[in-house]
């Protein structure tokens, strides 16, 4: 596979409405830079993230998927992120088991006040995925035609 030098990964970031989505906003208003190829999808709570969404994102061309939610204990709905944490742990472990690069998936807890952390996380994640290259193992060729 020839890696094009100007290749940029597509990153889908699922962000909880009550924390990290606001955190992303904050990093914007603070003029903190994070790559434009991070596509943010707002969800009402990190536990809204159906595992199917993660797979669907990869199918439709994502090279990395990250979930950002409230810090454990701070969930707007009290316990949502605890469930999300278990689900994502098991899902990521399963993807790893199937041989999908484990660095393509990540969960990060980012509060509404942590604009800087949001930007830093995204920068770091984009760098990790860029190093991995294109998503080949969970791609759908029909979407790339």
């Amino acid at each position: 596979m020839s890696v094009k030098t100007d290749w940029k990964p597509t990153i889908v970031a699922f962000c909880c409405n009550w924390c990290s989505y606001a955190g992303a906003d904050l990093s914007g208003t603070n003029r903190l830079q994070y790559p434009a190829n991070v596509k943010i999808i707002r969800i009402p709570c990190s536990c809204r993230l159906n595992p199917m969404f993660v797979l669907r994102a990869f199918q439709r061309g994502a090279d990395g998927v990250i979930l950002c939610g409230c810090h454990p204990g701070d969930c707007h709905y009290t316990t949502g992120n605890y469930y999300a944490r278990r689900r994502m742990t098991l899902l990521f472990s399963m993807l790893d088991y199937l041989g999908i690069e484990r660095d393509r998936t990540r969960v990060e807890w980012v509060s509404a006040a942590e604009g800087a952390k949001f930007a830093a996380t995204m920068n770091e994640f984009v760098a990790t995925v860029t190093a991995l290259g294109e998503n080949r193992r969970l791609e759908d060729l029909r979407c790339k035609a």
Binding site: T89, F92, R102
Partner: protein, 325 residues
């Protein structure tokens, strides 16, 4: 196991049950079909129970739960786990089933005979730990352990979780079943090898849905994969992605509810070792959230319907993976 048929007759004539769920004799010895018997005459004529009655009957009880009266059912130890899980999920009312536990030393299957290279099977006799098989091309003997269904190879438990009466001896959980050995072996492989392994297996999937339809944990009235609005109802594995998607999501949907009964692998016409996906989840749950066996009791919460504030972070996958890869 003559006692089983006798018991079926007794339950029907004695009025303990309105019907009996068991196995109907087939055209040959290896193809009994699950069946519901409403009369003693029917039992006399068609009922059978032998080493080839491997099917897990518990899922049929969901539909029978809506029928009037009590259904008597014969459950092997692993089947009893499935039933308890279904009762726990309120899919079956305990009082509507009369459970006869049947001790089990492992069930045999035609597929295993074929895998062992036996052609032209006509009939068999049980001779202690072996099966004497008469074939078109001569007689042959196969050790019972080599004729076992794939799901019986690593039996997790001989304990019948709940029953109203018991035929044979109650057993114990099998501590050294070795059922996670294969999962562990895969975990030790490089991601590249694992990917190749699963591509090879999953690419054979023909999306016949047998694994889903037989699975006692797949008890949804309407499956997400049958919903035209879900955007994922492609009947055919149209692309390698679809196969991955189907099997990951299916395994995820039954994670922490799957009792590891192994029916998915038994029924797969393409011989895909689907139980290895479920066992991965079970192994992870055991390691990360404490030992948990679905269907082993009536009250503990499944791991995915539960949490601890001090649970590990998803990054544990990297940490553990780092050690392995």
């Amino acid at each position: 196991m003559q006692g089983v048929k006798q018991k079926a007759l007794e339950l029907l004539t004695g009025g303990k049950a309105d019907r009996v769920l068991g196995w109907r004799r087939g055209e040959t010895f290896y193809d009994p079909t699950p069946g519901v018997f409403a009369s003693a005459e029917e039992v006399e004529r068609d009922f059978v129970f032998d080493a080839f009655c491997g099917a897990n009957l518990s899922k049929y009880l969901i539909a029978l739960d809506r029928a009037e009266g009590v259904t008597a059912v014969f459950l092997k130890p692993c089947d009893s786990y499935s039933l308890v899980q279904l009762i726990k999920e309120h899919r079956i009312h305990r009082e509507k089933v009369y459970i006869v536990g049947v001790a089990c030393e492992g069930m045999c299957g035609y597929d295993a005979l074929m895998k062992a290279g036996i052609e032209g099977v006509l009939s068999f006799e049980e001779e202690g730990d072996a099966l004497k098989v008469h074939t078109l091309y001569g007689d042959t003997v196969i050790a019972r352990k080599d004729a076992l269904l794939s799901k019986c190879e690593h039996c997790k438990s001989k304990r019948i979780v709940t029953y109203d009466e018991l035929l044979g001896e109650q057993g114990d959980e099998v501590a050294d079943s070795g059922r996670f050995d294969e999962v562990a072996r895969l975990e030790k492989m490089t991601p590249e090898d694992r990917f190749a392994f699963w591509q090879n297996e999953l690419s054979r999937c023909i999306r016949c849905n047998a694994c889903r339809n037989v699975c006692p944990a797949c008890s949804c009235e309407k499956c997400v994969f049958d919903n035209p609005d879900s955007g994922i109802r492609n009947k055919a594995a149209a692309d390698s992605f679809e196969e991955n998607m189907f099997h990951i999501i299916r395994a995820f949907h039954v994670a922490s509810r799957c009792t590891d009964c192994g029916e998915c692998t038994r029924v797969c016409p393409q011989r895909i070792p689907l139980h290895l996906l479920n066992r991965k989840f079970i192994k992870d749950i055991n390691e990360l959230y404490g030992e948990y066996q679905a269907g082993a009791d009536f009250d503990t919460r499944p791991a995915l319907l539960n949490f601890q504030t001090g649970d590990c972070e998803p990054s544990i996958v990297h940490v553990r993976g780092g050690e392995r890869a």
